[in-house]
């Protein structure tokens, strides 16, 4: 009685029979079970893991001891390395005929043997529309990229948006050191260190703005899941990187806000 829930081909496989030939070949993905099911529910199929990496050597840049200034060379390097990794990942996706890549994780790893060498890796799962719908491609007919998990992907589509492209902006900034007189002057006082405040404002604004410019170039309406990372990749203490990243999205034509069901409030009792 109960087994009728289980599709025939699954029963065959449980008997020990192999299904003969899958025309699509083997797909690989780092999806969890639930991510896989939700991507399927959204009408897509995973076709392969896409990876792009870039091992990058960072040059040296000097900044004046007391100057609040962007280290443009380093900003450029940090951006270029990530962009290269992303581009290589996208190329892999294109070669396997993917409509897009979801669940992209962009990581930076320091290699043990050289503090100036960083490894940038972009990993995500290439997916294709199960019925061949072409309307989901990214800018210029290239595969879209998105940092959203399988769950978030389903939810974004239900919200009436589709992902276009991961957008990012980087700004490596040198925060000015304070001179001895300035330091002396603030001893024993509760006072704002305004040049430090300024530096954080400036660096953050630059990173966010660069991300936003990318989004408008991609023709997006907005950016979801935007996040701002502050990092200092083994640089001297006054050098920080602000890195903004998010997924640029575009509304799906013909999707109305009224189509979205109201979420139900529940209280789970099993955890």
């Amino acid at each position: 009685m109960a087994e009728q829930h289980i599709p025939q081909h699954a029963l065959e496989r449980l008997k020990g029979l192999r299904s003969q030939g899958h025309p699509g070949g083997i797909f690989t993905s780092d999806f969890s079970v639930n991510e896989f099911l939700l991507v399927r529910k959204a009408g897509f199929e995973p076709i392969g893991l896409c990876v792009g990496s870039c091992i990058y050597h960072l040059g040296f840049q000097f900044a004046g001891w007391g100057s609040n200034v962007e280290l443009e060379q380093l900003s450029l390097a940090m951006y270029e390395a990530r962009a290269l990794a992303m581009e290589r990942m996208r190329l892999e996706a294109q070669n396997m005929g993917a409509d897009g890549i979801v669940g992209v994780r962009l990581t930076v790893k320091r290699l043990e043997w050289d503090s100036k060498v960083l490894e940038f890796v972009a990993i995500g799962t290439g997916i294709t529309h199960a019925k061949g719908h072409q309307g989901f491609k990214g800018p210029n007919g290239q595969p879209f990229t998105s940092a959203l998990s399988g769950q978030d992907f389903w939810t974004l589509l239900s919200a009436g948006y589709r992902p276009l492209e991961m957008v990012m902006g980087s700004c490596v900034y040198h925060v000015a050191r304070r001179g001895p007189f300035a330091t002396l002057g603030s001893v024993g006082q509760n006072v704002e260190l305004s040049n430090f405040s300024l530096a954080l404002y400036e660096a953050r604004e630059i990173a966010m703005e660069r991300m936003q410019v990318e989004a408008s170039k991609a023709g997006a309406e907005g950016v979801v899941g935007a996040d701002l990372h502050e990092g200092s990749h083994n640089w001297s203490s006054h050098v920080i990187e602000f890195f903004a990243i998010g997924t640029a999205v575009l509304p799906i034509e013909g999707h109305e806000a009224d189509d979205i069901p109201d979420p139900k409030l529940v209280l789970s009792v099993n955890s």
């Binding site: 299904s19 690989t28 990058y56 040059g59 409030l265």
Partner: protein, 315 residues
Amino acid sequence: MPWSSRNAPSQSAEAQARDRDWEAALQQGRLPDPVLERLADARAGRTPWVATMTPAELLTIRSHGCRPIATVAGTCWYNFGWSWTEGHAEGWAYALDRIRQEAYAAGANAVVDVQMRTIRHQIGSSMDFTLLGTAIRVEALPPSTDPVIATVPALEFVQLLEMGIVPTGIAVGARYEWLGGYGNNWGNNWAGQTTQWQTGVFAGNQPLTELGTFWESIRRDAHADLRRHAATMGNGVLAHTHFGQIIKRERDKQPPAYLGRHIVIGTVVDTPFGADVPHGIEPVIDMRDDATLSAARGHRHNVYSGELGEGEGAI
């Protein structure tokens, strides 16, 4: 008998016989008789079943016409001789083969909740590869000639079956390669020189082209290995994890050599392209505090962790 071993435990004749049995079985790639007997008893229901399942999981598999039979395992303690990297693929392949044999002997259709385990004892350059899981029977079906090995717990196993997805095994891909020296594809002694220049003291911002291409080729080979291995069991790999490392070795009067190694492991599934997902999905908002977005993202509003807040005298 030397005095030191006078009080040491000695093996009984029975235990020695068991050891010999195991030795012979491992060499011939079969299971020893005592294990076959134990599994035959479990299969016939002469002994109580043993399962790693929770009651909730038991409920779900019972409602889908399955029952647990026995806990089954496969172990291989493997010594890394010529390659640490490829030893991993070999070790897991042996363990996988052995757990499948046990499942077959138990008359199972599947092993669920299969866990990959290792006890990290450093004995020379070796490591144990162990798989442990619960063998189950689908009551309406005959025992399988080739039981599937599912790394998912029973609950997810049933959920996946309903969606037309059969988790069938574990696939491993592993590759290593030297850049410079040690004769191989990336060959001659002076390979690695470009990388040496590119990371030199006066080198500016630039992608390391040689090392990058080398690293990419290892990864691609490892993934191709993974797909080849997976193709013997199903048509997809999910939940895969990976391990990668580039090691630099300095050499005398020559550019340094680089060792790259990459291991990928994943759960193999068998599923038709575009299979239907019969369950509806409803957006809900869970009212538990630990299920909220702010909880999932960590303590976003707590900047007073660590030295900032706890220092004496901070007001």
